[in-house]
Amino acid sequence: MSSLEPQITSELEQMLPLPDSGRADWSDVVRRAGSGSRWLRSWRRRGGVLVAVAVLAAVGAASAVAYHYLGPSAGFSGGLSSLNDLPQASWPSSLPSDALDHAAAATGLTPAQAARRLRLVQSGLSLGHEATGDISLYAFQGNANTGCLFITGPDSGGICLPTRMTSNPALDSIAWAAGGGNSIQTPGPLAVYGLVADDIREVDANISGTTRSIPIINNSFYADYDGITNKDSITLVVHFDDGTTRTFTAPNPYADNGPTHLKHWTPTHP
């Protein structure tokens, strides 16, 4: 024990004494647990994004999801053809089982249909210095150009383009997210991953001016980085078959002084 501990204890106690328990209300906790999270309620009020947020919240382990409204999207109208060629996969045990149900509902499928369509699109992935190779990507194609992608590992989660968001060409063909693992220490790791339609030829990630081309495997991409600081900029450049390019900029997940469990982020429309 440090010789400073008694002094620290005493002065911290003076700064913020142990509060009384007058506010304690277990019934309020139970009520909140039953009615969805505060963040979901606040999103509900904005309308139209409940499905997407509910899916993310259900999949995203123990965190509220820092999530931006995607806006309506054309979805994966370019097709997700490689998923048809892959064998059916089992739902990963590391993800909550009810997340698949929510994702199915958001994409116009029954849970059984979603389970039948589930595919393992990438495996053996690592996050930064945590070179464990135990991160995998799963995906399924929903109805009406919708689809979902799920990630396992230290910062498990999922992203969907659900049925309610399929009318804005700005978001056609791609759903992606950026997250920083579960470290709050910088420099730290960063994962950039997503699901892309057949009409996307190439995806480049630009981290503070350094561009790296990310391979597209089974209509998905994944790149991990190490040594990311809160000063780094994160941009995704998407190249389409018709020669057009679209650029997305993501907020740096370390830039708001480091939540304990860093958040995935999905883009607003450009």
Partner: protein, 161 residues
């Protein structure tokens, strides 16, 4: 493996026993007690919702602490996103005492986020290093190093006064 009903009872017991400590840490993170209470309620609500995912790889209390700390950080992040001014600065209020910017308050405010959280969990929640490591998702050695660095920073600041 504990059943859902038993775990719910344990969570309620933990809430009743330790509510004040959870509230103190959340208040320290958020700067005001009303927001701190909200974070505690949300953290426990999330623990209730996700109790099936508790795998007993560590103490239940550390698992819940993680939920509460994450809820507090998310609330704070929401404020930043909405550009709301926090009710107080990063460090907790002085409880009516005049600010001592060269003392412990300034020291806490100047710490990097992880060290500050480790300090709150150590001194406001009275958690041991292993539990703090589980809450923050880091190794025990990292907690030890974080607190040693924090102590060293305080030692230096005291010499400068």
């Amino acid at each position: 493996m504990r059943g859902t009903r038993l775990l719910t009872a344990e969570l309620e017991g933990l809430y009743r026993d330790r509510y004040r400590h959870f509230l103190r840490v959340a208040t320290a993170i958020l700067g005001d007690e009303t927001s701190g209470h909200d974070a505690v309620q949300e953290g426990f609500a999330q623990a209730l919702r996700e109790q099936r995912s508790f795998r007993a790889e560590g103490p239940l209390e550390a698992w819940v602490w993680r939920m509460v700390v994450n809820a507090a950080l998310a609330l704070r992040r929401g404020r930043v996103a909405r550009r709301e001014a926090p009710a107080a600065a990063e460090a907790p209020s002085m409880n009516g005492h005049a600010s001592d910017e060269s003392g412990v308050r300034a020291w806490v405010a100047a710490l990097p986020e992880r060290q500050r959280l480790a300090v709150y969990l150590r001194y406001y929640a009275d958690l041991d290093y292993r539990s703090i490591a589980q809450v923050l998702g880091v190794e025990v050695g990292t907690v030890s190093a974080s607190l040693s660095s924090a102590h060293e920073a305080l030692r230096r600041s005291m010499k400068e006064v």
